[in-house]
């Protein structure tokens, strides 16, 4: 009995000496968005929006911005701590932004630190900012009317229609995978609002300076994956446009001779409804068929141009190389890299208008 008592006593003594570092909810600064920009003399400037709890029963969250200029990313965090009243934690980061200039130098080092940190999630978004990342940070910190992080919400909302999935995970997926290149959303600030400008194109981790316009994001998504939302406006004639509401879009890649002289044909099938048809008759079946044909042509032309642009810049955001690999035994990755620019790629679009709204 004495022994047992001793044991209990001993364990209590031990327990007092083994506390772990806590992160009490209101005693930490939760970083929500982090932005990186280049600064003079090879330095980088990091800035972050943190949410600050305000006491009281019905209080909302305040937001503050901290910035620091140093050489490396981890130093940024350290520097910020010097002006922060409480410790800064990254466990609730929802977006990481990179200024255009920095992105053109390559962003992998600034991504890797987040991939390593077990406290950081995997579903946070990465984005390139046209201009400076700091601008978005400043706008973000003023958006207090509704809770939540605007940057994250905007990207999240649009990734159903005009953007491919661009979370940390997909960036790492496309960056680390062979024969594919990542893309990230390109954001800009317009009249104190955060806006998506388009899709920034990357070669490995370096922004090549070109982007797909926001409107054409839909087309890129058509090529990239199967999805079920989004609207695209196709020009039929001079002054007549048709807005196609995507019901379901499916894409198929047909690949021939992966290790020799490959040929790729992309077949996309869009089932859609008509949302808006300015100056267009839609009464007869033949009229609808004509419109389908016309819009197919327009889309194909645009997509051909897009794919050509990818090839010219030697980037592969569609993961064509990977698709070829998955259908080729003993795939020769070197050979593919050599021939990629010249591979004939044919895009075939099939539009089917199945709904014309509740009026005709």
């Amino acid at each position: 009995m004495m022994g047992k008592m001793l044991l209990v006593l001993l364990s209590f003594v031990m327990l007092t000496g083994c506390g772990v570092q806590d992160h009490i909810l209101e005693d930490v600064l939760l970083a929500e968005v982090v932005g990186y920009d280049t600064a003079e003399a090879d330095k980088i400037k990091g800035s972050t929006v943190v949410s600050v709890s305000q006491s009281g029963e019905k209080s909302s969250m305040g937001k503050e911005v901290y910035t620091a200029v140093t050489h490396t990313d981890k130093n940024v965090r350290q520097q910020i701590e010097s002006e922060a009243p409480r410790s800064l934690v990254g466990g609730r980061l929802s977006a990481i932004l990179y200024g255009e200039k920095l992105a053109r130098k390559g962003i992998y080092d600034y991504v890797d630190t987040y991939r390593r940190d077990p406290a950081v999630g995997r579903d946070l978004y990465l984005a390139v900012v046209s201009g400076k990342a700091e601008d978005i940070i400043n706008v973000e910190s003023k958006m207090l009317k509704t809770p939540g992080v605007k940057t994250e919400e905007i990207i999240d909302h649009n990734s159903k229609t005009h953007l491919p999935e661009t979370s940390l995970h997909s960036f790492l997926y496309y960056y680390s995978g062979k024969n594919m290149d990542p893309v990230l959303p390109l954001l800009e600030v317009e009249q104190n609002h955060i806006k998506i400008k388009g899709i920034a194109l990357f070669k490995d981790d370096t922004y090549i300076g070109k982007y797909i316009k926001y409107e054409d994001g839909f087309l890129f998504k058509v090529l990239l994956e199967n999805f079920k939302k989004g609207v695209y406006e196709a020009r039929i004639k001079e002054h007549s446009y048709i807005a196609i509401d995507n019901i379901s879009s499916r894409v198929k890649y047909e690949i021939k001779d992966g290790n020799g002289s490959p040929e790729i044909s992309i077949k996309a099938k869009i089932k859609g409804g008509v949302l808006e048809a300015r100056n267009i008759e839609l009464k007869s079946q033949s009229a609808v068929t004509a419109i389908e044909k016309k819009s197919e042509k327009t889309l194909e032309k645009k997509l051909d141009r897009m794919v050509k642009m990818f090839q010219d810049n030697n980037i592969d955001p569609l993961a064509l190389g990977d698709r070829v690999r998955s259908q080729t035994r003993n795939f020769d990755s070197k050979h593919w890299e050599d021939v990629y620019r010249t591979v004939p790629i044919k895009v075939d679009v099939d539009v089917e208008l199945v709904q014309q709204g509740i009026t005709d």
Partner: protein, 507 residues
């Protein structure tokens, strides 16, 4: 490493002769009478005349009507000359003539009248005419149910056995009686249905009860603690109930019932943990409803134990795991609180326990109402004063409410208590601490037995058949077998109906 040993060396029992009670009878008759006469309620008089008979008894436990109408008239009218004649004259059963001091003492103390012929006072005639005060049968209070029988056990062992026999009128319902308690000489009855019950269980119970050595057994809860397999466990190992219907149904399943005189509760065993989530009204409603209620109860108990611990773990260590939409609310409510989450939780849990304890001490059910109202007032004030956060207040109140859903009072006490280790371990290691604490409890529950039967059955050892009446209750038509855990001698409850071929539509 000596203190790890669990086999204790039991010292040989020494008979303690310093206890002057029942064990050691008086030396002679005079001494015994002297002892009796020391009490003011002991009556001893000569009747009808100086030289005839001496009649003595404790007037507090003897029915005066019986003495006046059945005993005294015999002495005056029939003029008996020997005790034999008196015995034949009095129309009462179980009259004994004895000169054994032990027998005399026991008889007198349980309400017998002593009649002696003067002057020879060595032999005594003992006429049992005890009168005992008992309460009327009332409706069950701790196990109240809206539908179903409204009888509850009372303090008298005869009445209680009567309530059970009434429901199971078969001679197989048998009873063993044991007297326990050096001072209290409490009557304990062990009931079982012969032919169904596993005799091993009966033997275990009787053995354990006979082994009890204690001065006064005042209530059945003494017995429940003394015969428990593991007396250091916070988990009750017998179900105590005040419902005769529950007792009868337990008996018919093959359980053993223990009744203690003077206690309005009875014990049934062996029992498993799932029995504690079984309210007897579950059998009064259809099986779907009963199953849902039982699942709700299980969930409520888990919630009650874990919720504040998880709150402490998450707010102290795992801010990452809070859903994004909940985060602002949580931060805002925590913002004003000056204490770390653990202290906040301890304060609030403490308050609730205080209210509960106070409510239990207040005389009526109104007391509980006042307690709850007090809780709301104190809670609101505490939140407004910034002492605790309102999210936690809500969680704690819900947890308290959830712990009331268990039908058996004993286990709800257990749930009250085991929250605190969870709370402390959450503070220590966050969610990992909660998991470690849970693992310790799982391990303890696995080791626990009730009358030697595994406590966690039917989960472990897994007995799929017994799951039919555990967390869910299947319809009566599938309850064809008695629970396997009870190892009944005759396990089938009814003839299962032959399966009918399902008829086609409109046939």
């Amino acid at each position: 490493m000596k203190f790890f040993k669990s086999e204790k060396k039991v010292p040989p029992l020494q008979h303690d002769t310093s206890i002057p009670y029942a064990e050691v009878p008086a030396k002679d008759f005079e001494e015994l009478f002297k002892k009796f006469k020391a009490s003011a309620d002991f009556l001893s008089f000569q009747y009808p005349s100086e030289a005839a008979f001496t009649v003595s008894y404790f007037k507090s436990i003897v029915g005066p009507d019986q003495v006046h109408q059945e005993i005294l008239p015999v002495l005056t009218q029939q003029h008996p000359s020997t005790l034999e004649e008196v015995k034949n004259g009095i129309p009462v059963e179980n009259i004994i003539i004895s000169n054994d001091l032990k027998v005399i003492q026991d008889a007198v103390m349980t309400g017998s009248v002593i009649i002696q012929i003067n002057p020879d006072n060595s032999h005594c005639l003992l006429v049992p005419c005890a009168s005992s005060e008992k309460r009327q049968i009332s409706i069950p209070e701790t196990e109240f149910s809206v539908v179903g029988p409204k009888e509850a056990f009372v303090e008298s062992i005869e009445t209680n056995i009567n309530l059970i026999r009434k429901r199971l009128p078969v001679p197989e319902l048998q009873m063993k009686e044991i007297k326990v308690g050096r001072i209290s000489q409490t009557r304990i009855a062990v009931l079982y249905i012969d032919g169904i019950v596993d005799q091993e269980n009966v033997q275990t119970v009787i053995q354990r009860i006979s082994d009890i050595d204690y001065d006064a057994i005042v209530d059945i809860s003494f017995i429940a603690q003394m015969i428990a397999d593991n007396q250091n466990s916070v988990f009750p190992q017998f179900i105590d109930t005040e419902r005769p219907d529950r007792a009868a149904s337990g008996l018919s399943e093959g359980k053993v019932v223990i009744i203690v005189d003077g206690s309005p509760q009875i014990l049934t065993g062996p029992t498993t943990i799932t029995n504690f989530f079984t309210a007897f009204d579950d059998y009064f409603v259809t099986w779907h409803i009963a199953s849902v209620f039982r699942l709700i109860r299980v969930f409520a108990v888990l919630f009650s134990i874990m919720s504040t611990a998880i709150y402490v773990a998450v707010t102290t260590y795992h801010y990452q795991s809070i859903p994004a939409d909940l985060l602002p609310t949580l931060i805002a409510s925590r913002g004003a609180v000056p204490f770390p989450p653990i202290l906040e939780a301890l304060v609030l849990e403490g308050t609730i326990e205080l209210l509960r304890e106070a409510g239990a001490r207040l005389p009526t059910k109104v007391g509980q109402t006042i307690g709850i109202v007090g809780g709301i007032v104190i809670g609101t004030a505490a939140v407004q004063a910034g002492f605790v956060s309102n999210v936690l207040l809500m969680l704690t109140a819900l947890a308290a409410l959830a712990s009331f859903t268990t039908p058996i009072y004993q286990i709800s006490n257990t749930i009250r208590i085991i929250r605190f280790p969870f709370l402390l371990s959450a503070q220590l290691y966050g969610l990992l601490g909660v998991a470690i604490c849970a693992a310790f409890f799982v391990c303890h529950l696995l080791k626990l037995t009730s009358l030697g039967r595994p406590y966690l059955e039917p989960i472990f050892p897994l007995r799929v058949k017994d799951l039919k009446d555990s967390f869910i209750r299947l319809p009566f038509s599938s309850q064809t077998q008695r629970p396997e855990i009870l190892r009944t001698e005759y396990s089938s409850r009814m003839q299962p109906k032959p399966k009918e071929d399902s008829r086609d539509i409109d046939e």
